[in-house]
Symmetry: C2
Subunit: 278 residues, 2 copies
């Protein structure tokens, strides 16, 4: 790996963007975070599909997939383990919310160190809290991985190292996801994950888990998930592209009604985990 | 004016920020937009108050006000008419929502050309549409001028030049504000503006209008505003720091129930406009 090049901005080595970039001005863009292993970004096609779907939703013209692939290859070559982040914005413009008539989107592809999570996270599970910061609802933005992430930032600021993750609720008190991962639970033997039609991010790993569950003929549903569903769950786990799957072993509600609750690393969790490892 | 310096980044002339800046990564910051007239940014103290209130809400340590004032003075010196934009972010950090333990916020102060709106906008009023893009609700983010502005961007993309502004509703159908300005209406002789406890930006000019109304002993309320309140209003107007006050002369609902409605430039609108001009 050429240590000097760890980011490409529109194909050129660099580490800065214009203050007029609408990503900086308004969070007007999208991002993807990919695991890199032995020189290759993993699950590339799925990440591209989500990026392109998000770009269509926001009306941002994406670059050719072949260009992104080639740039990713340049950065990831000879890299043993890292994180590849792709940011796509509507590009630079003058002040004001109106997009320029001629758009020149910005793409930033960069490498970051692989986060060294303890191995026990995946094996024994993690401690998680329920955040006070809510997710706001807007169907126009639900599901896509856009750059407006203040809610996640504020939720993540609710703890330091006491927890590995934090669950987030919407205004109606439904459980949606965690700050950087999706939630699955087992209730009455059925695998459930929250529907993400009004908020939340449709994770790549979440889609993969749903496919694995189907392949394993596990009863599985995408549905509204209440706090009671989570509290009385038989198993709980979190997923994203970097962590893979983490069982939740303890959940702190920090409310008078619901204190702290412990969960086993259950059979369905283990079955999914094994299926993902293959 | 030194044409070469139209932006200062942490006090240094420049026009680019790190791709690791959390403003670019997550919209993790705030901004202010000030009118500059004859070398001076207008209503400086009010803008500083809002910026500092927003910084406290987001947990971002703001720079000394004297530093911002001095940098603004450097940029605005000898400038006849322009827009001064101040962006304050949580600064650069590695990947991930967790803020760095030691924060080094980024401040970007820049000048933009004054937008040459037609004079008739303030005199005869403007055409406005009701946007389909909703404002999502989150009390944690309501009122402050943060950098998560995708909803405004998407709403503004609903028209080109047919309208001067677009009204935005929340999920419950309440009328909150317009994409870049606050809304006032007169109903049964009372001046009303939407309360902004769950979404919206508390405009500097909005606060000024409320003060002027009180000084003029006009009956005035900050309240929930329904679509009916707006539809049946006797007068409507929009305010922000750059436009001042624009009466709304026509509002297009584009729905089967409510088509297009015209409004006069009424007595209360004119009284406020005169009070602001003094």
């Amino acid at each position: 790996m050429n240590a000097a090049v760890s980011a490409l901005i529109n194909g050129e080595p660099g580490d800065r963007v214009s203050i007029q970039d609408r990503g900086f001005q308004y969070g007007d863009g999208l991002f993807e975070t990919l695991a890199v292993s032995q020189g290759r970004p993993l699950r590339w096609e799925r990440h591209m599909q989500r990026l392109f779907a998000g770009a269509a939703r926001l009306g941002i013209t994406p670059p050719e997939e072949a260009i992104l692939r080639e740039e990713a290859r340049r950065l990831c070559k000879d890299v043993e383990r890292a994180v590849l982040k792709i940011v796509l914005t509507r590009g630079a413009s003058g002040r004001g919310y109106a997009a320029p008539q001629v758009m020149s989107p910005t793409r930033v592809i960069s490498l970051s160190p692989w986060p060294e999570y303890p191995e026990s996270h995946a094996v024994n599970g993690v401690d998680v809290r329920v955040c006070r910061t809510m997710l706001s609802r807007n169907p126009r933005l639900a599901g896509i991985k856009h750059l407006n992430r203040l809610e996640q930032v504020l939720a993540r600021a609710e703890w330091r190292d006491e927890y590995a993750e934090g669950l987030m609720l919407d205004e109606g008190g439904l459980v949606i996801e965690a700050t950087m991962s999706n939630l699955f639970l087992v209730r009455n033997g059925v695998l459930l994950t929250p529907e993400l039609t009004t908020c939340g991010v449709e994770g790549i790993m979440r889609a993969l888990v749903l496919e694995k569950a189907e392949a394993l003929s596990l009863p599985c549903r995408v549905a509204s998930v209440t706090q009671d569903d989570v509290f009385y769950a038989e198993e709980l786990f979190l997923t994203n592209s970097l962590i893979g799957l983490w069982p939740v072993k303890k959940l702190d509600w920090n409310t008078p009604e619901r204190g702290s609750k412990e969960y086993p690393v259950g059979k369905i969790t283990q079955a999914i985990q094994e299926a993902l490892a293959k």
